[in-house]
Subunit: 338 residues, 2 copies
Amino acid sequence: AGLDDMGELGEKRIRAAYKVLFKTDMAIFVNDGSPFQENELKALQRLKEMKLPVLVIFNKSDLRKPHQNNIEFCQDNDLAWISVSATTKENITVAKEKIIELAPFYLKEERPLVRDIVHSGDRVILVTPIDSSAPKGRLILPQVQVLRDLLDSGAVTTVVREFELNKALKALKSEPDLVITDSQVIQRVVNQLPPQVPLTTFSILFARYKGDLEALIKGCQKIDELKDGDRILIAEACSHHPQKDDIGRAKIPNWLKNYTQKDLNFDIAAGSDFPDNLEDYALIIHCGACMLNQKEMNNRIREAERRGVPITNYGLAISKLHGYFERTIAPLKIPFRA
Amino acid sequence: AGLDDMGELGEKRIRAAYKVLFKTDMAIFVNDGSPFQENELKALQRLKEMKLPVLVIFNKSDLRKPHQNNIEFCQDNDLAWISVSATTKENITVAKEKIIELAPFYLKEERPLVRDIVHSGDRVILVTPIDSSAPKGRLILPQVQVLRDLLDSGAVTTVVREFELNKALKALKSEPDLVITDSQVIQRVVNQLPPQVPLTTFSILFARYKGDLEALIKGCQKIDELKDGDRILIAEACSHHPQKDDIGRAKIPNWLKNYTQKDLNFDIAAGSDFPDNLEDYALIIHCGACMLNQKEMNNRIREAERRGVPITNYGLAISKLHGYFERTIAPLKIPFRA
């Protein structure tokens, strides 16, 4: 199946090919040096429209130089290209370097979870509610991961339930340098915390760690533009057994209706794939992605972006719907895009 | 195979049967009401010697009453007994209640990890070194479990590496109510901590939680009685890949030789079973048992006790060998034996 198939079946194939492209991190476009055909030019055009990083590889440099028209097309369209020979291995190493260079930022950086926003010796408070969803006798993994990253950074971290935050504040000689809370108890935390104390949430740290915080922040702003009749997709990475007053099925929809005062429709997508009709939604609100790795979460963000659908996540949406968006974003560095 | 087999093969069978008894929590001795035979009396005598809780069940109460001699034997030897009928179900419920009543303490209690020695609002410091054995991006499970138990108890818990303990102490308005450290950095912790601050170790909490702290403390005192030529068994529950300067293979043997100034021999037993020759050892030093549950660890302690071999664990031994035994035991309640 390719981008240039014809007829009814061809159309289906093209759609399938695009579906793959929506999930693609970069495109390597191989041509043997002969002048680009019509379908090749169309495909390159489409890749550009999708804002995919593209490397055009002219193979068979041992047989012929790439056609001058091809080189000009690449130059005019700002497409990176290189001439190689798979047979003689000419330029293969340079081609690999170009691929690394062109790879999107979210594949290249080793991302910090929290250590880039604290200094050694900083006093940090983690607010970790213990509810029925916590594993028996343990803590949920994201909390352990944040604590570990803080330990590695030399921070002095105090961990309490939401009920003990006041006691934790009183136990410290001075105000903490940072408070990180579970999103679901943010209202209670804000009520106890002096307004000047930097505050963020586990979900926002993970939005930055696993996703593309800038894209998710942009998506979150869309909440203010929602209109009556808009459809919202609640997207969950796992297919967990929904709990009473489920965060995705009950809490977020209710908060969103209260905040916007609009007549909104909600769909739930749970599991390993996005639904086909992403374009039908005014906004996607994605779960914290604890079951996805960085690449998988970024694929979803990229796919939403390429299909023109704003996407945000639970943590950011919850902060916004409670009125603490600016405050909880403020402590973060958003360094992932140069 | 039974306790009353005869001949060479019989002896092997008897040994096998005893091996099972070493691991048994209680014995239920069934007789049909007829007068005890010689072999039955011998077996009951042996169970008594092993200090196993025994319930004698006289079955077939629908056919006959238990013989008067049997009842007198039980009374004289302080053996609990009951007369039941498996056919008519007479007294079956009472028998079940007697089993529960006779079950050893370590099977009945829901054990606290740490919450019984802290009060709501207590300030606790956990010292958690991050070395190469820590899982990437996370914490080891025993540390997470202690933190969770402290959260449940309403404590205000500060978690730091050994390098940040001073900073943690300085960040607090007053001295902490309890410090819990990894055993391996206890010297560094003691150097930084005012002598009046209560101090214990993760290993000692787990010795109490998973084992029988009283038995392990008693075993630990044996260290002061070791003689030249004594053999020590280092017992590990898992068969992990030994690390450079391994705690069981290198550190503890070295510390023990330094402390006792005796010529000691060490054997390592790693895995799911105790070796057959337990009686050859002057002392068993058992690992922290993170891979064993309470029942499995207690079986090992019971087996050592029944074979007359003192047993202690890494955490207690390390405290003792560093000279902090009394201090690290002091914060603990030892409530498991009435």
